[in-house]
Symmetry: C2
Subunit: 236 residues, 2 copies
């Protein structure tokens, strides 16, 4: 079974077998297991390493003094936390494991070595970063201007494509290991309303969700409901 990071990179650029071996090597060193609901990187730290998610879901989040939490990004298997952390900066947010997570810890030097003289790898990392930024923009638009049901539908469509590219979707069925409060914090709503909205998507025949797996029963319908246009995920 191939590693999701390499799969994703191959979406962007053609890799030689040697490129592939190098990227795969990054994912095989310094493996760490982090229990669910625990921080991978706390707020206010100045991280030296970056992390490659190999298994499980994590998130970037901000927490307000009064306890409100905003999830500003979801990190899926194959996602690299910050390819360019070596520009030392203090974290303005935290990275937390939503489920038990397996990560590879990577040093800036290892990234530098992998990139040096390998334009395909560098190009792939760039495209990853552009895609991440596009996702940020789409989230701002979503929380700002989409209704509850549109937001949820849109998120499911986004996750479907992202997981498919990492080789983790089974056709139109995908893992969905997060709780409703997690979805609420990612979409700027309450878990109660997420529940209502899930019900609406279900009774509308668009999705089925049980035992942490989501099945999209009507992909075109779901995309239409969420005003989802996959173009923003294509950097090519």
């Amino acid at each position: 079974m191939e590693n999701p990071f390499v799969r994703k990179m191959e979406r962007h650029v053609g890799l030689t077998p040697e490129d592939r071996a190098i990227l795969d090597g990054l994912a095989r060193q310094h493996i760490r297991h982090i229990p669910g609901r625990q921080d991978i990187e706390g707020p206010h730290t100045e991280p030296y390493h970056t992390h490659l998610i190999l298994d499980g879901w994590a998130c970037r989040y901000k927490q307000f003094p009064d306890g409100r939490r905003a999830i500003v990004a979801l990190l899926l298997p194959g996602d690299l936390c910050d390819p360019f952390v070596y520009r030392r900066a203090r974290m303005d947010h935290a990275i937390g494991a939503l489920t038990p997570v397996t990560v590879a810890r990577i040093t800036p030097e290892q990234i530098g070595d992998a990139v040096r003289g390998r334009p395909a790898i560098e190009e792939g990392l760039w495209r990853e970063m552009l895609t991440t930024t596009a996702i940020h923009r789409e989230w701002i638009a979503s929380v700002g201007r989409r209704s509850a049901i549109e937001r949820l539908a849109h998120l499911f469509c986004e996750l479907h494509l992202r997981l498919a590219w990492a080789g983790l979707a089974d056709g139109t069925t995908l893992p969905m290991p997060v709780t409703q409060p997690d979805l609420a914090d990612a979409l700027g709503q309450t878990s109660v309303h997420i529940n209502r909205t899930l019900k609406e998507l279900r009774t509308g025949g668009l999705i089925a969700l049980r035992s942490r797996r989501l099945t999209i029963r009507d992909l075109d319908g779901l995309r239409e409901r969420g005003l989802f246009d996959p173009a923003y995920l294509q950097t090519a």
Copy 2:
């Protein structure tokens, strides 16, 4: 009067006089004037150039088929649209002028030339980009979890710092040349509610806003009201 781009870069890194001259040179070629409410870069294009905002305000926005508009970023004088556009990609959004805008058109080659052998400039561009990403994250958190008044207060605090760094704030008074519908689209609300909230901030003695200039009457109070922590804007 110095150019806002150079001022901003000097916030991040120390520049030699020569560095400064090179950056300043970028801002003096291929000047274009764009009338207010017109696109600088339309959606779905594959831009070759990037733009440096010299005067006026612009925004990145997404428009839905039914007309809803989401402003996902504000571009102020001194802001560079996409330092790394040369990774050719199709625009997933548009860039529009909110006011009449003066820009310098810059080619990828010019950026490459400016960076080559000048680590300070490269470092500065990187830090600019990290700051931009941090602002994106903060916007997601804002629209997701801050109340109307908190959002508006937070935005004003953000703009205050950003404009100050570009040398465009007069103490605690800053230009605010956008309309209430513009603010609404940036904050995910309606212009009517922006108006209500402005009134609340005004009667609370936190701000004064007239003839397109904002005066922050109580900076600490406004920051508290908006849960504003300037740390996220500091990449150092």
